[in-house]
């Protein structure tokens, strides 16, 4: 279930209402998001498309609690993200959100294993439990034999798979991916998208992904477009699935 009209429906995991984001540059105000509504049910794979500068990254940052909106509200499950700040928001993010960025953003001095372990260091898990979770996440990404490799010893596609393993290792409520294949060739991109879509279909994850690439967007079960600060159903019209 994915809707953008703001009417109250049952069963939404993520519920965004009248979201505004305004940046100030000197005396000039840039209204990036204006009255944006969104409902996403659990287990959906949503792609956001839109021209450069339309506010896709801004929206994702707001959904992930990395940034605060100028107005409006975001609820995820029982939590009102927009009412949280500081330590509580950080804690919520660690528990519920997995991030995947275009530039992988791995820590170069840590091995693949240690990179994936990072979010677990903040939990109470024992060393052995952490090891088990990390190994599971990496093997889901087909990287069991690359655990001791450093990022520079991996290909771009492998680096991104490590980043995805890191995003899912703490079993978050949903994944936010900002152009996860933007820096990859077609083959690696398809591999990554296949893995993400398997996370949705086989493991019931909820994924929200920004992409420029229509072929990448095809992997999602819903494509939404950012236009004039709000989301609209894709012209192909398969919203509400």
């Amino acid at each position: 279930m994915v809707r953008v009209d703001g009417s109250d429906v049952d069963g939404s995991l993520i519920r965004v209402r009248n979201l505004d984001k305004t940046y100030r540059r000197g005396s000039e105000e840039i209204h990036v998001l204006q009255g944006l509504n969104l409902d996403v049910g659990a287990g959906e794979f949503v792609a956001f498309m839109g021209p450069s500068g339309s506010g896709k990254t801004t929206l994702l940052n707001l959904l992930g609690g990395l940034d605060t909106p100028s107005a409006g509200s975001i609820r995820v499950g029982e939590d009102t993200v927009t009412a949280m700040s500081g330590r509580r928001l950080t804690g919520w993010r660690a528990r519920h959100v997995g991030f995947v960025f275009q530039m992988y953003n791995l820590i170069p001095v840590l091995t693949a294993f240690q990179n994936v372990e990072l979010p677990l260091l903040l939990t109470n898990l024992s060393r052995a439990e952490r090891r088990r979770h990390v190994e599971t996440a990496l093997s889901l990404m087909g990287l069991s034999d690359r655990m001791k490799h450093y990022p520079r010893q991996l290909s771009g596609g492998q680096e991104q798979r490590v980043a995805i393993a890191r995003a899912i290792v703490a079993d978050p409520t949903f994944l936010l991916c900002d152009e996860p294949t933007g820096d990859l060739d077609r083959k690696s991109a398809d591999e990554i998208l296949g893995l993400i879509s398997a996370l949705v279909s086989e493991h019931g994850k909820t994924v929200l992904m920004v992409t420029h690439d229509p072929r990448a967007a095809e992997w999602a079960n819903v494509i939404l477009h950012l236009e004039k600060g709000a989301l609209v159903d894709s012209p192909q019209g398969n919203a509400g699935s």
Binding site: L66, T90, G91, A94, F99, N105, V109, L121, R127
Partner: protein, 380 residues
Amino acid sequence: MKYLPLIVRNLFRKKTRAFLTLGSIAVALFLFGLLVTVETALSQGVEVAGADRLVVINRVSLIQPLPIAYRDRLLQIPGVTAVTYASWFGGVYQDERNFFPQFAIDPESFLKMYPEYSVPPAQWKTFLGDREGCVVGQATAKRFGWKVGDRIPLRGTIFPGTWEFNLDGIYTGKRPDDDTTQFWFHRKYLEERGPEWFKGYVGWYVVRVDNPDHAVDVVKAIDARFANSAWETHTDTEKAFAASFAKQIGNIRFIILSIGGVVFFTLLLVTGNTMAMAVRERIGELAVLKTVGFTDAGVLGLVLAEALTLALLGGVIGLGLAKAFTLSGDPTGGLLPIFYLAPWKMALGLLLAAMVGVLSGIVPAVTAMRLKIVDALRRV
């Protein structure tokens, strides 16, 4: 502890820079270690001075003697529980540069007055029965390679002639910073062989008081007792004497503090610069840490821990080298009464290193803490 790999890896990310900074810290703390060792050596007497001991000298100057008859009169003064005496010999062993202090003593009362020194009983017994015997501290024995049984010639400067002594014993200090450079021999021998003008005299007296709290009263009583006599006295606590000696050498503490201050400040700049660079080139990664759930305080802690690790590591290396250096012996060849780097002074050095770590890390750490994720991610 589980963050240790992250901290250590980050530290050595730029190896050359890390080792240069580490080297600076190590060199600075090595220097610190040596300076405090020398300072301890020069002010040695002050710290080990017995709180219940007074020194009585001739009021005119230290080199003017006092009559031996004062011994019994000192014992009569209320508050005085023991008395011993000694005289400065001022002999030269082979060469003027081979300086060490030599005292003509009254053996029984002397050793009782200084319980911090110990001599093997058998050696002491030999010494008591040997008119030409002597006992030296282990530092001096080691310096000249002397063994018990050696015959040691000293050329007298105050008391003319060549004096030969039998080395009957070697004394040790009970504490590491006790002076073991002294050379003791019988006052009786000096009395017999020495010049006519010194017969019946001693260099100075050392007096034990029944209670350190009475020291001031006893000092007054002694000097009053001998006022208006031919040999007026000047009495003071052993500590005060040692301190006035140390002052004559120069204001060592001031010099050490000045050097230390400059080094400390330079170190702050060096380490601070390293940490600032480390944070600046890692903005994106710090943002990632925050994204996956590290709190602002957590990131602050990580950066501080990194600075602290760097400083402490450098400190341990520098102080360890300084300790090793002091263990390898006094570079002046025995001129210093002691050459010892006390554990608590090493701890002080480590504390100083830790301060450098925290102070140099605080600004970069706060920068990292304040970092906003969205801004940082846009920059990469």
